[in-house]
């Protein structure tokens, strides 16, 4: 039983890595590069801080603004003489976690709303989807910043706020898919068997839209990392001394002339992480055979 409705190959034992979708993903060069990038970044963020000789909060004013590769400071130091490498990896833990949790939250909300709106249709569906349209009319950054400014930000709060502004796109995708499946024979059969509405939505429809959901979820991680970075860059996201890739860039602009590495290092990390998730998303789209207006 696979989560994605692909005809299982009848050949011999059904190992998951022989699955057509997995095989196709493994042939997708960009997706593999993305996967490798994420594994390297993830490993660096998890194990890096244990291996480095510096603590991310250790202040050494004599070593302020050390450029990269001075002594044991691989990426240099910041205006307080803190080791940038240690801060980058600790920040990565937060930024990646926020991105991942925001993806989980928004995927759950978006899928639930999308499935209900798509299957129920009628007034319920219309009200839900117009609500989604209305939220999508606000530039998401404005909405995000306004919410972050109203609510005292903590990493958990930022995660929720990002999810609140990101679930709508997933809802839109799921709704369209479910609406196209609603009158298919297998759904009619389930209805005639007397299955409850909830059972049809959860057991019949949801597994069949798993592909688009997985793809959208992967791209949402990328988006969430970008959003966190921007909000924290402006000072309304993750608050120091807890480091995040975004708030590491917070003071970088004023030191641009003399200490450009303060801007370059965290920015490269963000771009790498976001690129990686976009590559993986692209590979998943091909592997799971998800149509989109782009391809």
């Amino acid at each position: 039983m696979s989560a994605v409705s692909l005809t299982p190959e009848s050949s011999a034992p059904d190992r998951w890595w022989r699955h057509r979708a997995v095989q196709r993903f493994l042939r997708h060069r960009l997706a593999l590069i993305g996967l490798a990038m994420i594994l390297v970044l993830g490993a660096a963020c998890i194990f890096g801080p244990m291996l480095l000789p510096f603590d991310d909060l250790f202040i050494d004013l004599r070593a302020r603004f050390a450029p990269p590769l001075t002594g044991a400071h691989w990426f240099g130091t910041d205006p307080l003489g803190r080791d940038l490498a240690a801060r980058l990896f600790m920040a990565g833990r937060i930024s990646l976690l926020v991105g991942f949790m925001a993806m989980l939250t928004s995927t759950v909300i978006g899928s639930v709303v999308g499935v209900i709106a798509g299957y129920r249709g009628g007034l319920v569906g219309m009200v839900l989807m117009r609500f989604v349209d209305a939220i999508l009319s606000f530039p998401s950054l404005f909405l995000l910043l306004a919410l972050a400014a109203f609510i005292k930000p903590s990493p958990a709060m930022i995660t929720i706020i990002i999810a609140v502004t990101s679930w709508t796109e997933i809802a839109r995708i799921v709704e369209a898919e479910v609406r196209s499946l609603r009158d298919r024979d297998f759904v009619l059969a389930a209805r005639m068997l007397g299955l409850s509405r909830r059972s049809i939505m959860v057991h019949e429809l949801l597994p069949n839209v798993a592909g688009p959901i997985i793809v959208a979820a992967t791209l949402t991680v990328a988006r969430a990392i970008l959003l966190e970075a921007y909000v924290s860059f402006l000072g309304y996201g993750i608050q120091p001394p807890v480091p995040s890739w975004g708030n590491m860039l917070n003071g970088a602009q004023q030191y641009l002339a003399n200490a450009p590495w303060l801007a370059i290092v965290p920015g490269v990390a963000i771009t790498m992480a976001v690129t990686a998730f976009n590559f993986i998303g692209d590979g998943l789209r091909d592997a799971l055979d998800v149509r989109s207006e782009l391809d």
Partner: protein
């Protein structure tokens, strides 16, 4: 056409009402609600707060307050800025021009490059150029706009000293050339980040048109490759771009706002950031509502434009 126009207009009005409900809810979500500015006043007693609430009509039921707020909103009374007590609508309109200038310039850049790249990679499908632009566009989509802006400032202002690092004009100069020099960097950053979106859409649209029957007919008639492309393919592939421009509006506005904060461009994004810093909630709310209205009106206009150009939309 009239039928289509009516339906589309009705849809926009419903959306606008929903947008206003969300805006109103946000206003009341703000800590302390609309009264928050007074909680900071020293010596403010609870009795005075209650009195003030009654005076401002905040003790009425929420639906009544909403209707009242909406009524004033429709009349252009968006409240007053906490910072300088100027009417919110006036403050916002003062910053609208700069944002529109930046948005339009950025869009001109991204659209022209994106359309060119999209067509070229579609007719050379599977080539090295196609592959590189596909990969390149995905990386470009992944670069945070604000960081790209920082790097551009570092390279072109700090290191090379070619272009100014921020603002819209030099105080005391303000010639057209001076404006242009200030515009180049933010507009390019904004435009280049968006190239990817357009080139990918354009590539898909071109590929779709190339496989249509009328293109085969044109080829069968013996028309040259370039002529088919110019006369039959490009025009048809550009059609869906009009609708897409409407769909991209929130993202483009968002991008302009981000670029503004990095380049200290005196537009709505800059105003939004400053207003957040001052806890100037009326302006923040006004900007939220105004940008949503801008997006709705923009997508309405692009949809109507698409319907005028393409009869399939209004009839189908």
């Amino acid at each position: 056409m009239v039928h289509y126009l009516g339906g589309r207009l009705w849809q926009s009005i419903v959306l606008l009402l929903l947008v206003s409900v969300i805006g109103f809810a946000l206003l009341h979500l703000a800590p302390g609600g609309p009264l928050s500015q007074f909680t900071l006043t020293p010596g403010m007693t609870q009795a005075q707060m209650t009195h003030l609430a009654a005076q401002m009509g905040l003790d009425r039921p929420l639906p009544i307050q909403y209707l009242d707020w909406l009524w004033h909103l429709l009349q252009g009374d968006w409240g007053r800025s906490y910072r300088d007590n100027r009417p919110v609508a006036q403050v916002i309109f003062g910053h609208l021009g700069a944002t529109l200038l930046l948005m339009v310039s950025g869009m001109a850049i991204s659209l022209s490059i994106g359309v060119y790249v999209g067509i070229k990679s579609a007719i050379n499908r599977g080539s090295f150029f196609d592959y590189m632009t596909t990969v390149g566009s995905m990386i470009a989509l992944s670069i945070p706009t604000f960081w790209f802006g920082l790097i551009a400032i570092y390279l072109f202002s700090v290191k090379l000293g070619w272009l100014p690092a921020g603002n819209m004009y030099t105080i005391g100069n303000g010639s057209l050339l001076d404006y242009a020099r200030h515009l180049i960097l933010p507009a390019s950053v904004l435009g280049l980040v968006d190239v990817a979106t357009w080139s990918r859409y354009m590539r898909t649209a071109t590929l779709e048109v190339i496989h249509q029957d009328f293109v085969r007919t044109a080829r069968a008639k013996g028309l040259s490759h370039g002529r088919i492309l110019r006369r039959h393919v490009i025009g048809n592939a550009l059609l869906p771009m009009v609708t897409l421009a409407g769909m991209q509006l929130p993202a483009m506005l968002g991008g302009a706002l981000v670029a503004e904060t990095v380049f200290t461009w005196p537009g709505m994004g800059r105003l939004f950031r400053d207003s957040l810093g001052y806890s100037d909630y009326p302006v923040v709310m006004g900007l939220l509502m105004f940008s949503a209205i801008l997006v709705l009106v923009g997508s309405l206009v692009t949809d109507l434009l698409a319907a005028v150009i393409d009869p399939r939309i209004r009839l189908g």
